[in-house]
Amino acid sequence: MSPGRWRLPWRVLVRASTPGDRGLMLASAVGIVALGLLLEGPPGSRLQVFRDNRLVATHALGGTAGWSVDGRLGPVIVEIRQGQARLREYRSPRLIGTRTGWIGRAGQVAACVPCGVLIRVEGGPSPADADLDAVSE
């Protein structure tokens, strides 16, 4: 898009906003970026799978794996590949967990809230370090 095409939306934004609005836009943008940087972790080593806040499986992030978890709305597929993990659900309204895509940094989560399924990447020693590929309940 050429610079000229941005002029109209920019002018409308300037006309529509007060100095207080613009201050809030700036302050909230800085706050969101700071919060994101604060919560970003190092590369993860293992994946935890929760069903209704109950840990149902822990798996090393190395290698390739895939399995199904019984969600409230049906099966939710958890996949691990090349140090990253993702979940795939089919029946939730917005598919937020699926569209989150691959996650691989410590602390990152992907959740299907209506399904009650959440996966979380953890740092620290993986189950593989203890000669285990996975631990499930």
Partner: protein
Amino acid sequence: MIRPPRSRLEADLLAAHLAAAGVAAHVLEATLPGLGPWFKPGLANLFTLVAFFHLGWRTAVAVALIRVVAGSLTVGTFLSPTFFLSLSGALGAVAAMGVGGLLPLGLGPVGLSLLAALAHMSAQVVAAFFLILGHQGLFLALPWFLAGSWVTGIVNGVLAFLILERLAPNQASPP
């Protein structure tokens, strides 16, 4: 050009129109393909914001509640987890509008829309934590959700400003 309401009946009719528009936006958003995992247009809140500026906070609360209940009945999610997430988000948004309108920050439609969008998303994440998922890891995704809300809040604020200009010229300021 639409005149500002001159009577109680006219104000009620305008509130009903805004609630109906909110329900339509709610249903439309439920059927639209997603624009990204953390991104939802939030057009339904736009009409709550217009109600707040044009008819006051109480009417905005009514418009939000009608939109959530009628919208969820229409798309078949009434009393489901999705309904409670919508309800908590809508209540968070109108609470933020009420508080933001009282603060001496000189916030207009854009600022209040941004505040409402951020409150909407935060309330939904808190509700998801307490009512459904119960895992603290959910809060780690909050910056991504808030980034999406930041964009939609500003866009909807500009749209609300343009609607308010048509409804009542020179009245696009907190009631």
